[in-house]
Symmetry: C2
Subunit: 301 residues, 2 copies
Amino acid sequence: MSLLVTGSIGIDTIRTPHGVREKCLGGSSIYFSMAASFFSPVCFVGVVGEDCPFDLAEVFKDRNVDLRGLEVRAGSKTFVWHGTYHENMNDRTTDHVELNVLQEAPPKVPDVFRDSEFVFLANTAPALQIELLEQMTKPAFVAADTMNLYITEYLSDLQKLLRRIDCLIINDEEAKLLAGHSNLIEAARHILAMGPQIVIIKKGESGSLMCLEDGNKFVLPAYPAPDVHDPTGAGDSFAGGFMGCLAQVGRTDFDTLKTAVAYGTVVASFAIADFSLNGLTTTAREDIDIRLEMLRKVTCF
Amino acid sequence: MSLLVTGSIGIDTIRTPHGVREKCLGGSSIYFSMAASFFSPVCFVGVVGEDCPFDLAEVFKDRNVDLRGLEVRAGSKTFVWHGTYHENMNDRTTDHVELNVLQEAPPKVPDVFRDSEFVFLANTAPALQIELLEQMTKPAFVAADTMNLYITEYLSDLQKLLRRIDCLIINDEEAKLLAGHSNLIEAARHILAMGPQIVIIKKGESGSLMCLEDGNKFVLPAYPAPDVHDPTGAGDSFAGGFMGCLAQVGRTDFDTLKTAVAYGTVVASFAIADFSLNGLTTTAREDIDIRLEMLRKVTCF
């Protein structure tokens, strides 16, 4: 089934203990689309300024990513992000941000994309996520991400969004903040009561936890990878693998959701093995299936 | 096969967000023995002072724990520990410690225990762990725990110990400190190079990671439990379930090791559900098997 993503496109400068990459391509919709395209065609919605140095058509040329939702906005500047990962790779400092075009009006969803069935609303202001969602005509399964800023500053908007989506995908600190509970199982229970039928809590190197409204739970460790070179985009790659798998299968029953979490986990493990998109662009579809079987082997007993 | 444990016996005062328990029974050998006795008889070696308020024969009366290695030392005082767990239950503050009898000579291993095949050396000075190990005549599988203090202050002794044991069971911060690596897979690789064939890294609410010298790995999340009331003894209960299972089966092949880690995980989940030993003493053997199947269900895909 068709899969649509809306999110950021960024000019990233990344420092990790393994090196520095300046002005490389990043942003939530970019990582998501590259990850999801292993499984499903992707309808891409995003906006850059006229200064954008990247040729996205070239970036996605061998991928089934439809860029008709990409807007290059005259007179605007592209989102810029500089970040540093410290020794343990879990601590990240944002060194510099220029929101630029991200603080202007959101891009329009093209008419040809409006009937997409699977929708991922990457992290942005919840009011904008709602505005984007309202342009969709028959979404069957909507997932969204959010972050600390929106939980603390725009909670009322976020609560409105939560009542309209099927699945929230957030990290552990955000889940604790949103729920006001430090135990993640309790936190998930509180978030489910806010609206979504599914909450997926990403725990970085400790994997993820999925809790369903019907009481089903799934916990999966991260793929045990020694070679973490750049964690940027890990969460969006996870979401891309997850949603891509669901859109490919066309179902959201519990077994499919579990498989999708496992695919998301594996795709994220490739994303973090190199800087920027290199970890994903140098990976083949069969590598993903081989690693999925490895993940099954090292987690089942 | 026979299983021997040496470790501490303590008078604990525990504060958690769920309440306070004063002067309750604790200590590594106590939690370990209670956990292991679900699976295997246990030969107990430990020492208390003449002030010890607990009747251990009564505590273990329905358990197959042989207390002939318990020494009540005249003129000495029992180990005392006061600790506080903070809101997220992962942060622990030690409020007060009196080592007392633990800083005197270690207990003797009774002659009838010396041919035990499975041995667990709970956390104490590595020189004492070696001294205790040297009293054993034919250990087939030796596991040990250690802590930050011994890694930083007694590294040479610890390195000697590591060359003589089969399995090190430590927590994630200790593993990073010992290995000088923040990536746990890398840390495990470095620790394996120090001697043991197996290293198990406990990650609290994020579960555990087992790495073998032959390259095999196993990662398992913690049991997704909402009701954590007192994390004291979680690690020793994990070790007890793990070693108890191995001693019961009498093998240490990879499949048995994986099952043992899963049993350790489940036993620990019961231990933390109530204060002191209550979580373990109110649990039946069949509860453990039911939860093991639940753990399998929520982790396999």
